[in-house]
């Protein structure tokens, strides 16, 4: 629980630094999404041939 709260606090701070003020409920929804996509992003970064340009 404390780790989860701390993670939400980090997200809230990141949002506020960009001028956005989400609610706890918003942040919980986003946290669930990030938990899924960030590992997939890391895996993709490892698999891409280095010579692939945007």
């Amino acid at each position: 629980m404390p780790a989860e709260s701390s993670s939400l606090d980090v997200l809230r701070q990141l949002a506020e630094e960009q001028g956005v003020s989400p609610s706890d409920e918003d942040l919980e929804a986003v946290q669930g999404f990030l938990t899924r996509i960030l590992p997939a992003l890391a895996e993709l970064e490892e698999r891409l041939p280095p010579e692939t340009s945007p």
Partner: protein
């Protein structure tokens, strides 16, 4: 209050004249009509038509109104919390899909001849399949997107929905500003995406398998390279672009978004700066893999949707995740993809997906036209269909806009 029995329209304005009637998804500007994107946030009355609408008007089309959409075209349901859901004319307890949901419903019900929708990751094809009409996401870049409120600059396309492939050809040619050369289906090499048949509701898969038997050409089983990764790649590019387009309102109007769209837009705020670049690199890599593995196929075929349109009160939690593998590949590759009516299950329509090579929109539409010459699924009318005289009653409630 709804302007029509399906809540397909957010604004109606009758136009006299002999030309075909056109409804326009409410993220595309029509001069003098409000653009709201089915949101509480956007409300502008543009002085100019979007580029594609100006071309339609120039050939005598009657632009009769603006159509309901998922809020900001950022979802696949058309259940705006602000304007209410658009309903499926085959059974009004069911969703009509989205995000161009009002556009699909209006064509199916006969309220317009052609709807103009947008497709970023399936938003023309999903409502076309769920409403039993023909719809095409053209090759990316074929139709100019000027005057469209963006979802993703990289993936956005504008495409028509109509009862027949021939009507889609007409609208696409006008909007693209050049002829679409239809290919007669002869010696086509057709890739059958078996995994998409296997993942679908068996009743939907059975209808599509039957339709497949009616398609000409040499059929071969194929698989989509990097299929499981495509969902991730699409989101890495799309999410930051959508968030960037909405950043001002995220700062000033956050509470005015519906909860689902707000969550998606906020997600884009927290992705690392590498995400978009990695997404673009992965898109190029995945497209090269597609061209290497499947580039010799004239057409890829699969069910357009894995499920029947769900009830409005029983939308699966994983609805989006179910749909994404069916729509994302063509969006990622930038190739043309159509949904063509091919049957029914429990009175609800099923669509067949036809995906062509980049720039070969005429192959997709040529095969769709040939299929429709041999079948009559596209001629079926839902219980809630309107003939011309009833349609005039709807239009005569003229110059009405839904308010929030």
């Amino acid at each position: 209050m709804t302007l029509d029995p399906l809540n397909a329209f957010l604004h109606l304005e009758p136009q006299e004249g002999p030309g075909p009637t056109i409804g326009v998804k409410d993220v595309i500007d029509v001069a003098g009509m409000p653009t709201t994107a089915a949101s509480r946030i956007l409300r502008r009355i543009p002085e100019r038509d979007a580029d594609c609408i100006a071309r339609l008007r120039a050939v005598g089309a009657r632009i009769v109104g603006k159509q309901n959409t998922h809020e900001f075209a950022y979802g696949a349901l058309t259940t705006s919390p602000h304007f209410g859901p658009a309903r499926n004319p085959w059974n009004t307890d069911h969703v009509c899909g989205g995000s161009s949901g009002g556009s699909g419903a209006a064509v199916a019900a006969g309220l317009v001849d052609v709807s103009i929708g947008t497709d970023t990751a399936g938003s023309v094809r999903i409502p076309a399949a769920f409403c039993g009409v023909t719809g095409i996401k053209p090759t990316t870049g074929l139709v100019p997107t000027g005057g469209m409120f963006p979802t993703s600059w990289t993936f956005d396309t504008i495409g028509p929905l109509a009862r027949t492939a021939e009507e889609c050809v007409w609208a696409l040619e006008v909007m693209a500003g050049r002829p679409i050369e239809l290919r007669e289906p002869g010696d086509l090499r057709v890739g059958v995406v078996e995994s998409l048949f296997e993942r679908a509701d068996p009743r939907v898969a059975a209808v599509c398998e039957e339709a497949l038997r009616g398609l000409p050409g040499r059929h071969e089983p194929v698989e989509i390279p990097l299929h499981d990764e495509i969902t991730t790649i699409l989101q890495l590019v799309l999410l930051p672009e959508a968030t960037a387009a909405h950043l001002h309102w995220l700062r000033t109007r956050l509470a005015d978004y519906g909860a689902d769209v707000r969550a998606r837009l906020l997600a884009g705020l927290f992705l690392p700066s590498t995400a978009h670049v990695t997404g673009l690199r992965a898109r190029r890599f995945a497209t090269a893999e597609y061209e290497r593995a499947l580039g010799s196929y004239d057409l890829l075929v699969a069910p357009a949707m894995p499920i029947l349109p769900p009830r409005l009160d029983a939308i699966p939690d994983d609805y989006r995740l179910l749909l994404i593998p069916y729509n994302s590949p063509a969006s990622l590759w930038g190739v043309p993809a159509a949904s063509v009516p091919c049957g029914f299950v429990d009175g609800l329509p099923v669509g067949l997906s036809l995906v062509g090579r980049r720039g070969e929109d005429g192959t997709v539409l040529g095969v769709a036209r040939a299929y429709q010459r041999a079948t009559d699924w596209h001629e079926r009318r839902p219980p809630l269909a309107f003939d011309a005289s009833t349609r005039e009653v709807v239009y005569n409630r003229q110059s009405l806009s839904k308010g929030v």
